[in-house]
Symmetry: C2
Subunit: 261 residues, 2 copies
């Protein structure tokens, strides 16, 4: 790799949500997906067909001709997959928030292509709104990844392994945990024959506030007000739901502590 060139050809390793959505996005940005590899050959075939790629039958037999090898596999499999992949000249990237860059150090050119977003199979994400956090083994590799990410999204950030790990943890706090709470609310409402749709404006406003004020100042509700009467009523309503009650209690205690100690 001497001259600056655009990444044109991609091999996708993995066939989960991240692999699928990124492969489609690359293809829509005019790149060729040469091959897809996944130990789940059914998933691999299905994804390969959608993006006009071949299926690679074995990891050690993937083509050596691609510009980019995207390892969109579960975090704990990255090291194993990296060890089995041929020593290609193209850029080898993983897509993990929590995994350091240097697990790919056996390759000549490598990087991280981390989409800071939640992907589900059934939902097509707006890739142009996805922040891509990039890290690379050299400036040349970084520039190539940046050019590619820039074709997908306007939100491209240089983020090193230490910072990416912090973003990943924060993402759990603002996505995984709120989504769990949404699911609990949805279940609770369903039992009471109420629709989650009624809460959507509130959920949207909860996020929209953070665009204009610090979350600390956006806090409202009984715990923030120190309204123990309401808290006790809620705990009573959750009498037969031990798990949700425990979650309600600890979060309420933390908010009380934060605003009233």
């Amino acid at each position: 790799m001497g001259e600056i060139f655009d990444i044109q050809t991609v091999v996708v390793i993995g066939s989960g949500n991240v692999a699928g959505h990124l492969a489609k996005a690359f293809r829509e940005a005019g790149r060729s997906i040469l091959q897809v590899f996944s130990p789940d050959t059914g998933h691999a075939s299905s994804l390969a067909e959608k993006v006009g790629a071949e299926v690679a039958s074995r990891l050690f037999a993937v083509t050596k001709e691609a510009d980019l090898y995207l390892l969109a596999v579960p975090d704990k499999k990255i090291t194993t997959v990296a060890a089995r992949l041929p020593l290609v000249k193209g850029i080898v990237c993983h897509t993990s928030g929590i995994t350091p860059l240097n697990v790919l150090a056996r390759f000549e050119n490598y990087g991280v292509f981390y989409p800071l977003q939640t992907f589900s199979k059934e939902r097509v994400p707006d890739i142009s709104q996805v922040p891509f956090c990039l890290e690379a083994s050299s400036d040349i590799v970084y520039n190539r990844l940046q050019t590619l990410a820039g074709k997908l999204s306007q939100r491209v950030y240089a983020v090193d392994s230490a910072q990416r790990k912090n973003l990943h943890l924060a993402a759990v706090l603002v996505n995984n945990f709120p989504n769990y709470l949404y699911a609990e609310a949805e279940g609770f409402l369903k039992e009471n024959h109420l629709s989650m749709k009624m809460l959507l404006p509130l959920m949207r406003e909860t996020v929209a506030k953070i665009e204009t004020m610090p979350a600390n100042e956006a806090q409202t509700g009984p715990a923030m007000r120190g309204d123990h009467e309401t808290i006790d009523k809620h705990l009573k309503m959750l009498e037969n739901k031990n798990d949700l009650r425990a979650v309600y209690q600890i979060l309420t205690q933390q908010i009380l502590k934060k605003y009233h100690e």
Copy 2:
């Protein structure tokens, strides 16, 4: 109250966020705010000035001529305020999610005008997107409240006291608790010189997913995948943050339990 008429004149009791935002919304919908009462006379004057109202100096001395008396006061003060308010003919409403309708039963016409939204002083909410949950002492009163709420918002629901209480608890789950988690994430990122802005697309997508799929199916992340290695790394990163670590642990345990037991 015999004939159907629009509510034209309002007395606002309270001067907090809900009182302020609703008073302004009524005024923008062409209604007159006759008086504002609040034990905090500074707040009362400030709000009264903004909405072209008088300040009522005492609760028992408010005008008896208004069509609506809006009690937008802290939940635990509703009963006291209701007991001190003159026995007016106009509709007396509280705005509380958790308080039953019947605490206002000493009045001839009464109801609940509960906005299912989070209000902060510094932020002007889009009232047209606020769901209003209404309950009333009679059909005539209900129709009048519905007509008024319909001038503010297209989302007007008939919700009885038992159901309103359930919505209020669900609102804590989808607003207060996620906002607390946002604040923790914001603090954590700040310590690491990272901006919350990078997480906003993820936060928006977290809510947007719920518009198209059940929250149970939208769940992603290490706990949902049963990825204990990542969970352990996160817990290690939170070693010196006992409170946040405790919250991380219980929410992770709940998600693990839900998807892996």
